[in-house]
Point group: C2
Chain length 163, copies 2
């Protein structure tokens, strides 16, 4: 969707260094994510949000409440609820009332869910490896460090307060 | 949404260098895009997709067909149609039948649309600048070049054909 702006700024405004950088970063992320999304669909009949929920639950053997899951995933409760319902229908997670508060549901990975997560994590790793295969270990390290600088810079940005 | 996987791989699998790198790249893109999205809403009552359509049209004074617009933006025709309808309602674009084929509509930026695009592009530039403000010019250049390597590597990936 951002192709128009990329073109524009890559071409017309050579001085807009930050915008060019941002649009290249966005374009890389978009292409990789789109490709992963398609492959999750083709190979597993699944989606990245479902994979993310499985990944989160895999780290919580005791299970998680829907709201803890939602907070961990940074998406709205509504979205997580829908994703969890599909996973439950497919037998990959179970929902049980919390022993301390019967109104709260605890989501847990089933054994089938764990196996499915492992298959998907392995494929995810392999696909990402293949997409980044041309980078040398040194380039990867450099890029990782520079993206760390971007994270810091974003966190320090206070322009929100000055419209 | 990918927070779970990031945590997991950042922690548990130090050897999964490519996955850690990918998830950090995705996380940077997601945070910046989310922030830009919120600001477009707060400051302009608008969206990034609408901004993208304006940006595309700003480069095509002669106007564009809906399908050319859709192709340029890499989104489905359906989405672009909805975005264009909102922009037309707001007086930022016009739709007129093509002189060569009356069944095809040509979308053009209005003068108000051009002014609105310029205001938004200026703000977009300012916000991106602020988010990347901590990076030195050298770091930005390095990052831009490394992301260029990522683009090349993604383009060379043929793992699609070997499931």
């Amino acid at each position: 969707m951002r192709a128009a702006i990329r073109e524009k700024h890559d071409g017309g405004f050579a001085d807009r260094r930050t915008v060019r950088l941002w649009l290249r970063l966005l374009s890389c992320a978009t292409v990789v994510e789109k490709r992963l999304k398609r492959r999750f669909g083709d190979h597993f009949g699944s989606t990245l949000p479902r994979f993310d929920v499985l990944a989160q639950l895999e780290r919580a053997p005791e299970g998680m409440t829907m709201s803890a899951l939602s907070a961990a995933l940074l998406v709205s409760n509504g979205n997580v609820t829908g994703v969890v319902q599909v996973l439950a229908r497919d037998g990959l997670v179970t929902l049980a009332p919390s022993p301390t508060d019967g109104r709260v549901a605890i989501v847990r990975l089933t054994e089938a869910g764990r196996r499915q997560f492992e298959r998907q994590a392995e494929a995810h790793h392999r696909w990402v490896d293949a997409m980044l295969a041309d980078l040398t270990p040194g380039e990867m390290e450099q890029l990782y460090a520079l993206l760390g600088r971007v994270k810091q810079s974003i966190a320090a940005d206070r322009s929100e307060e000055q419209p």
